[in-house]
Symmetry: C2
Subunit: 182 residues, 2 copies
């Protein structure tokens, strides 16, 4: 593979915004072309996406209004890795909290960078199988509407543009490839 | 489909950071549970990703160091929609600028939201075929290293975790589905 190097140099860095979920910093840099410039970087916690697939070949989706994009979004179970937890522990917690489910089989679907030009966000994806419901079916709340759909219907929702969230598309299409034997 | 509403209310909004590529605002909101809170939203231009597939079934990748994630990244041709351009015009411009290519066939692969919990980013994806080189092969620069790989190898790079960029994974796996007849 061709050799590619980091030709950016960071001279200085200052925090320009912070809230409990996100931190924005502006770095003073020397760009690869040798000229000085700035780079604004948005920092997040590590993200998680979980394809919860049951014995009837149905997958769990949660519908919610996503404020930043001003749209209703159907998504796989997702969340963030909290301090003191491994990614897998966080995934088990989110599966329990958001869908009332536990899983006996976890398959690592790898990581990806949702928006590598601006954010440092890294998303870790899992396939969870061997599901059991340890709580009542999750009720629709003011934030989430749960929905169980056949796996093939989740793929059709991607094809029809009804699933637009990157975590959901990447994870479901990776599971599709795994199931086809790639 | 279950009815989901926007139960967030925006009371106020202020800009907390801006540079030429990104704007960050903090909104004062009433959350769906009725409690007051804030929402920090990162605003971008619309993004673009282009799978450039030639007659020999090879796809163009560009290797670059991505500063925010501090990693070498292999990506399809990408860019942003600039003011005064349609998404397709921007895609044609980026294909020309980044790979020295023109295309006669453009297939709309749909949109997605790379990071819908924090950013308003919308990415538009295309498949470009009927390629012709209108400039010399692009040279490796300090920023980009171009590489032409068989389509099957691009998929294998996703499977092996060597392509981590959301635009590239979503677009290439969507093209894979199209080629399999879904």
């Amino acid at each position: 593979m061709t050799d590619i190097k980091n030709n950016w140099r960071r001279l200085d860095s200052r925090e320009v915004y912070r809230n409990p979920w996100v931190r924005v910093r502006e770095d003073q840099v020397i760009r690869p072309d040798g000229n000085p410039g700035i780079y604004g970087v948005v920092e997040f916690k590590m993200g998680l996406g979980i394809v919860a697939l049951d014995e009837a070949d149905h997958v769990w989706l949660l519908g919610q209004y996503r404020y930043p994009v001003d749209a209703i979004s159907w998504e796989i179970i997702n969340g963030t890795v909290e301090p003191g937890e491994t990614a897998l522990e966080s995934a088990q917690r989110e599966l329990s909290e958001e869908a009332g489910l536990a899983a006996t089989e976890w398959t690592d679907l790898g990581r990806f960078h949702p928006s590598a030009g601006i954010t440092n966000e890294v998303a870790q994806l899992y396939l969870a199988r061997g599901l059991s419901q340890h709580a009542a079916d999750p009720e629709a709340t003011e934030e989430f509407v749960p929905r169980r759909v056949p796996f093939s219907e989740a793929l059709a929702m991607i094809d029809r543009g009804e699933i637009l969230d990157s975590y959901s598309i990447v994870a479901l299409l990776k599971v599709d490839r795994l199931r086809r034997g790639r």
